[in-house]
Symmetry: C2
Subunit: 467 residues, 2 copies
């Protein structure tokens, strides 16, 4: 046996126990860390040596740097005071699932390269069809649709645009003429996904006073493009836009999409998690008319990034677009047609065992546990909205939607920006303002795993004191 630089299993045990303790302690003290680091660009790099070490370093030094280099430069997304963007939840069972996934190091590109990776993913994603009240035909076990875990909603939305473009090109359209649609409030991933897919025409459609897409405007835009000889191919509805969590009229968009033969993609990246509570499914009425749907358990379902679930109502066009089978990937199981080969469902070939953490979250919380926490976040948002409504200096700029409350200072952008700065200056809470039609507003997004009533009360006290 030659010299080895590998860490022994016994040293792995020792360091692993220390890091589990470090992670538990991080959970216990994250509330006390500043949510946003006070740091200048380049400050972290300046602490690092200019070259990789030639010789092995003691593992204890690496762990020490977590406290001296990493944490001082980290934004604490897991803080109970996290009210910025949308949540990007972790949870204890999910973190432990990631540990095991890393240790197994299995690749699930084909069923045959690790059957359990594929089958547990297909099964757990089918569970979610029932949990979210989605059409039965979207289950891989039923068909013709099916679901897959992708890295992000951006990837899922990009894939939807690629498939829609390919369907248009298959009908003899020039790629140059393909058109994609969404509301002006849709997430930037739609414009980006379309552009990356080579779609040169993206129409951002008017919204109504609740920031939801106007179907008549969509219809008019499609007809204008048709009369210009262009090829309308795909429209995306949002269930929960980024700025205000607005909900597009899914059923009406389906009607327009069907009339003109467009692919209808639904972006429920954030709000999809709420569909585990039946009372919120009113927001996805008509979902059975969609061609694809994405939601991110890594936002609001206590499952670590990356875990974005993407469903198609019919998997045939997806597989036709994405499948290339070279000799080194051919195998008896794939040839039989009896198995799912998830490499044909997205751009990457390699894929890790992401379903494990999702499986563990669903089992560890139970559907009841997830419902409880989502309802609690929504309750806190409703209550916070009432506090805003009752305050003479504040005005809501959109309906409270799911866990999101949007408001501004009555006196306009200057005082609104000043208020946002005062909130973030407190250090233990964090909000990210946004802008619609040149009007600034503050978003309070309630949904971090660690967020409690107490954290929301703390935020409110900071706001009240700053006014």
């Amino acid at each position: 046996m030659t010299d080895s630089f590998h860490m022994s299993p016994d040293d792995f045990r020792r360091h692993g126990h220390a890091l589990v303790d470090w992670a538990a302690q991080y959970m216990e003290r994250v509330a006390d860390l500043p949510v946003q680091p006070k740091i200048e660009p380049g400050a972290i790099r300046a602490m690092l040596p200019s070259a990789a070490p030639e010789d092995p370093e003691q593992f204890e030094l690496l762990v020490r740097d977590l406290d001296t280099v990493v944490l001082p430069g980290l934004t604490q997304w897991q803080s109970p005071g996290w009210f910025a963007y949308f949540p990007a939840n972790t949870s204890p069972p999910s973190i432990l699932g990631e540990l095991v996934t890393a240790a197994l190091g299995a690749q699930g590109m084909l069923w045959s390269t690790s059957p359990a990776v594929t089958e547990i993913e297909a099964h757990v994603v089918d569970w979610l069809v029932d949990l979210l009240g989605l059409p039965q035909e979207w289950k891989t076990a039923v068909g013709p649709g099916g679901g897959v875990i992708q890295m992000s909603a951006s990837d899922s939305t990009h894939v939807a645009h690629v498939v829609a473009r390919q369907l248009a090109v298959d009908r003899d359209a020039s790629t140059d003429d393909v058109v994609a649609y969404s509301s002006s409030q849709a997430h930037s991933s739609i414009e980006k996904g379309a552009r990356v897919a080579g779609i040169r025409h993206v129409r951002l459609i008017d919204v109504d006073e609740r920031f939801a897409l106007r179907p008549q405007s969509l219809e008019a835009a499609i007809e204008r493009d048709l009369s210009d000889g262009l090829v309308p191919a795909i429209v995306t509805s949002a269930i929960g836009t980024t700025a205000t969590a607005a909900v597009d009229p899914v059923r009406d968009v389906t009607t327009v999409a069907r009339r003109h033969g467009l692919w209808h993609h639904i972006d429920a990246a954030y709000a999809g998690s709420a569909m585990i509570c039946p009372e919120f499914r009113v927001h996805q009425q008509g979902v059975d008319g969609a061609d694809s749907y994405v939601f991110n358990p890594h936002k609001w379902m206590f499952t670590n990034f990356d875990c974005s679930v993407f469903w198609v109502a019919d998997r045939a066009p997806l597989l036709r677009t994405m499948s290339i089978l070279p000799p080194y990937l051919q195998n008896a199981a794939s040839a039989s047609g009896d198995v799912i080969d998830y490499r044909d469902w997205h751009v990457p070939l390699g894929r890790r065992f992401r379903a494990l953490k999702l499986w563990w979250v669903l089992r560890s919380y139970g559907a009841r546990g997830i419902r409880h926490h989502i309802r609690e976040h929504v309750r806190l948002a409703q209550r916070f909205g009432e506090l805003v409504d009752d305050h003479p200096s504040l005005v809501r700029t959109a309906p409270v939607s799911f866990g999101l409350v949007c408001f501004r200072h009555v006196d306009g952008n200057g005082p609104t920006n000043a208020l946002a700065e005062a909130i973030n200056a407190a250090g233990d809470v964090y909000v990210t303002p946004s802008t619609i039609d040149d009007q600034r507003f503050i978003r309070v997004s309630i949904g971090a795993t660690a967020t409690t009533e107490q954290a929301v009360e703390r935020l409110w006290s900071i706001i009240r004191d700053a006014l």
Copy 2:
């Protein structure tokens, strides 16, 4: 405080310690598990309940299912007997890095959303420029190039094709006319990346007797396409093809690419890791003429999937293609131009702290430790090649290249397939055969973290006994 379904930090400690022990034990026993599970399609799903549990399950039940449901259905990619495909390495420091990344749950889409995530990534990827002997201008700290961690080589190669397509379209080409090139031996991700990017013409160029791209054939293909009014946009060279680890003539391809204004992308997904040893850099001579380069530390550099490093020689066209800046992502740091916002370097917006595990691997092994293990794998491959050459029933079908040995039975496809089946029937080793020009051959890919001289001797004894 309301009821909580969250696992407490103390329970996390307890279950975390148990799972660290489970993972250490997995390392100790993986050699004794069958590399390939003997399992029928659907067998894993049949063990799972048809619906997610309504109530929380005991965490001990989840852990128990690792042994009863997961392992029996898993392909053991981390076995010392892993000689299939290419390696997909884990290592103890990398697994522990994944644990911490999961616990921190930070998002690095913008510098401002977690400065340490971006700066450590940029810095460690710059370290790799020196470690692999790549051009200094590819460092983010030098420019105009830079590197980023992507999910997979397929994603990186796809992005290269998107940028090249965009450059062509910006020069007024129709997307329909864009052409991409690679050798007939290139990885399927090139054909797939081109297709996903909307490139409708992909030319697979002839190879020579060593399975390397013929530059004259590339030149001829480009001239044919130009005379047909098409728009040649990108050529990919492979440093280490999938079937035989063949190396394309990088410098000659650059000459042809420059003459006709094509983007030159290099796919060194597998073999790039070997460039940490100066003696292998002869295979990337002329790399300074490339426009982009991808290699996967998650293959042969002891870093868990996903970790694919993608460099561009000039980041301007990449950022121009991929950047979209909505109001909710605007911030002072981005506006200053002093920071890297990695969301503009790929399709996804969200991104986890993947650099942590790579940083830990480089520090825990040191450059010397990684060199040692890669040289040891190559030495074992050379020795295995000699055993093949000395055996009257076997003939090599390609030069031994890096850690890969390709050979067949002298009597052709039937006996070659039978030999592959006999090898895999042993259970504790695994090879994946491939095909070139209807000729079957066996690939022995030596490079798993746990693979030792003893494992290679075991493989050879199985082969010898089967002949």
